[in-house]
């Protein structure tokens, strides 16, 4: 049977071929000819479809909403008297400014769909609200949001930027990743955000600025408070709101509620993730690990002191246990009542307690970060914060900007963030709404946002190669927590490793408070 001929007549092929005359055989369709024809038709159809789609697209409709902005100058004072509920008095000298952005020319909606990929760490419940509404308003823009664990998000971003492809169009950039990704891998949006300057506090804009240019929308700010099981402390006759002003006060009352191996007044975060907890404590003492260029300090006595403080809580005062925050062991400890307090920002503290320990609703309260001594500055620490950025690999920057501003800068969108994730509001208008709004049922009706009114977080420097920084500091935390290694020795090794990784700062480390 001739192998290079197709018999389009069916399975009796070879007999048909044998029955053909030489003229008929010559005219029979060869396999090559057949496949070439089919391929050519398919290619022509594809090209035609593409051309039709291109010429059929109509000009874009660009919508800019008309915004009215009221600016009020509000002075807020908070009076805390022992035994009373804090009151917030807003004395407003309102100067109202109305700003209207003009509605530009409206043209028609494009038929070509644009897909934006967006990577974020566990913000699905907010994006479930924001993204569909956005896609309804901008039907030609599809948003594919990918929820990744924080460690995985960082690693994947590093890999995709190093490879030059595979990065998303937008991602949630935590403050501690800023030196890693900004400015090389994200785009400058300075000109695009001129009209939304009042969306965030000036200090948050500063956080998003590098060399005078703005690289993201800084909507997450994460100052810490102490979250505690009020019912357990109350049972021992302890009212933390009245009796604890300083960390020394807390240690004393902690001894009253701690039962060794059963119940601990506090839980410290160790391992790599604990680096951020450690930094929040250092931050509350106005300390730094790195200078403004991301270089590590040598002879950082304050950092060694903070590590020793954590060591003492576990091994000297014996009021603290250790665990990796948000691990299964951590939640088991919270739910069992083994861990009675921890420090965290509102966006991860009460928010995660509500999700993971709903049965403990009403039992928890928040306390403003204890001071480091009577008369010391009223500082708290931060677990950093974050901003939304557009990557240099984004091919649809215009659409990404629309998504960025719509979902991460309007008061409506930001209020969703605050309500769902319990973040502290990033502008004064929304903070006022939070403070004057109802309390949190989970915290017995307490208005948790007032905890942050009397505390200020000093600025905190970060460094590049953050996952390796976490590995180094995490090792020191494990050594002091688990192996009870001398904290000064543990810090000495960690500091040497940080200097080897990042280079040594030429400045002296801040003495802090």
């Amino acid at each position: 049977m001739p192998k290079n001929k197709l018999n389009l007549l069916g399975s009796v092929g070879h007999k048909k071929f044998e029955a053909m005359s030489s003229e008929e055989y010559k005219n029979a369709v060869s396999r090559r000819k057949f496949l070439t024809s089919i391929g050519g038709l398919a290619a022509a159809a594809a090209i035609g479809w593409g051309l039709a789609g291109y010429f059929a697209s109509t000009p874009r409709m660009v919508e800019k909403t008309t915004t009215v902005v009221e600016t009020k100058t509000i002075t807020q004072t908070q009076t805390i008297t022992a035994g009373t509920t804090p009151t917030v008095t807003a004395t407003a000298s309102p100067t109202v400014t109305v700003t209207t952005t003009p509605t530009p020319t409206i043209t028609t909606t494009p038929t070509k769909k644009v897909t934006l990929t967006h990577w974020h760490p566990a913000h699905t419940d907010v994006h479930k609200v924001l993204d569909p509404a956005f896609m309804q308003k901008y039907p030609w823009i599809e948003v594919k949001a990918v929820d990744l664990a924080i460690g995985d998000l960082y690693d994947k971003l590093v890999a995709s930027f190093a490879a030059g492809s595979g990065a998303p169009d937008l991602f949630a950039c935590l403050w501690r990743w800023y030196p890693t990704f900004v400015p090389k891998f994200v785009i400058d949006i300075t000109d695009e955000v001129k009209d939304i300057k009042d969306a965030f506090y000036p200090f948050l804009w500063k956080q998003a600025t590098h060399d005078g240019k703005i690289y993201g929308l800084p909507l997450w700010y994460c100052p810490h408070a102490l979250w505690y099981r009020n019912d357990v402390f109350e049972k021992e006759g302890i009212d933390l709101q009245k009796e604890v002003e300083t960390w020394d006060d807390f240690i004393e009352v902690g001894k009253l509620v701690t039962i060794p191996d059963k119940q601990y007044a506090f839980v410290i975060c160790r391992a790599a993730y604990g680096t951020n907890h450690f930094l929040s404590i250092l931050n509350s003492r106005a300390g730094q690990l790195f200078d403004s260029n991301g270089k590590a300090y040598r002879n950082n006595e304050l950092a060694a002191e903070v590590l020793e403080w954590e060591y003492d809580l576990i091994h000297k005062h014996k009021i603290a246990s250790h665990e990796v925050y948000f691990s299964s062991g951590f939640w088991a400890g919270i739910k069992e009542g083994r861990f009675l307090s921890w420090t965290m920002h509102s966006g991860a503290g009460p928010y995660n307690l509500i999700k993971s320990a709903p049965e403990q609703s009403g039992l928890w309260r928040g306390l403003a970060w204890p001071l480091w001594g009577k008369g010391k500055p009223k500082y708290t620490g931060v677990w950093g914060g974050g901003m939304e950025v557009i990557t240099v690999q984004c091919k649809n920057v215009e659409e990404a900007l629309i998504f960025l501003k719509e979902c991460f800068s309007t008061d409506e969108a930001l209020w969703n963030w605050c309500q769902i994730k319990k973040f502290v509001a990033p502008n004064e208008r929304l903070l006022k709404r939070q403070i004057e709004g109802p309390g949190l049922d989970y915290c017995g009706g307490q208005n948790i946002y007032r905890l942050f009114l009397e505390r200020e977080a000093p600025p905190l420097n970060y460094a590049p190669k953050w996952s390796e920084v976490e590995t180094i500091v995490g090792k020191a935390l494990d050594e002091i927590a688990i192996s009870a290694r001398d904290p000064k020795e543990a810090w000495k090794d960690a500091e040497a490793a940080l200097i080897k990784l990042l280079g040594e700062s030429s400045e002296s480390p801040p003495a802090g408070i």
Partner: protein, 265 residues
């Protein structure tokens, strides 16, 4: 595959800061650095301890189970083979997450059992002296079934006539096992051992997912070290050099295994 190996080798002669993109030829400097890098040798030591404990336990268990489940005296052999093979089908991630709960010092089932027997609890994963062995056991549990099946196949390839001839000569079961089964089975055991050794040099999933190489580098393996150098410290050149040294160690260990097990045959 050769391309990837070649790239790692070439990379190892450069200082390549992954994210900044700067590359500089530095010759053997990465290798010299690794020779004095304590953490790298800790990872090599941990990997060798891990694979030794794992392979010894696993192969002994697989041999025992293979003999047991190939014996005509054992009932329901197919059922037991399936049950023992089942963990091989589970993903490493799922196993790692499950065992991190099982091993938990306060809430894990093992310590709860110990507590009920009035025995002290054990820090399976938080004790730096124990964590590595705890992880070895997980892999033994998961992989024994796989090698058991390979060894059963090896057993079944031994000709029956040899056993019959031995029986005629008056050899008992023990002598038949020692002088027929094991000598003819040795090749298959060697194959299983070499495969297992090479794969266990790549151990990453359990120590990374469960402990990120901790506590305090107690479960830091060469694969984790390479990963951290590449994606944590952005030191792709050093990671490449570490990968090359790791490959050389694997080759040496495999060659020794072949020499030892074949040579004594």
């Amino acid at each position: 595959m050769l391309g990837a190996v070649g790239i790692a080798l070439v990379m190892s002669f450069f200082r390549w800061e992954g994210l900044t993109g700067t590359t500089e030829f530095i010759g053997l400097e990465n290798y010299a650095h690794l020779l004095s890098e304590m953490r790298f040798w800790v990872s090599v030591k941990n990997t060798i301890i891990y694979l030794t404990v794992y392979n010894v336990l696993m192969i002994l268990l697989a041999i025992g189970l293979a003999l047991l489940l190939n014996s005509p005296l054992t009932k329901f052999r197919s059922f037991f083979r399936s049950i023992i093979f089942l963990p091989v089908t589970f993903s490493f991630v799922a196993i790692a997450l499950t065992f991190s709960i099982i091993y938990h010092v306060d809430y894990g089932i093992i310590n709860l059992i110990l507590k009920s027997l009035n025995l002290p609890k054990v820090g399976w994963l938080i004790d730096p002296n124990l964590a590595l062995y705890s992880l070895s056991f997980i892999r033994v549990w998961r992989n024994t079934g796989y090698y058991m099946i390979i060894l059963i196949a090896g057993l079944q390839s031994i000709p029956e006539e040899l056993y019959e001839a031995a029986k005629v000569d008056g050899a008992d079961a023990l002598r038949r096992t020692l002088y027929i089964t094991f000598p003819l089975w040795r090749g298959m055991i060697l194959v299983a051992l070499v495969m297992s050794t090479i794969w266990s040099f790549q151990v990453f999933a359990e120590p990374w997912i469960m402990l990120k190489g901790g506590p305090a580098d107690a479960t830091l393996t060469t694969a984790i070290y390479i990963y951290q150098q590449a994606f944590g410290a952005w030191n792709f050149g050093l990671a490449g050099a570490a990968a090359v040294i790791n490959a050389m160690i694997v080759s040496v260990v495999s060659a020794l295994q072949f020499k030892f097990l074949r040579g004594s045959a």
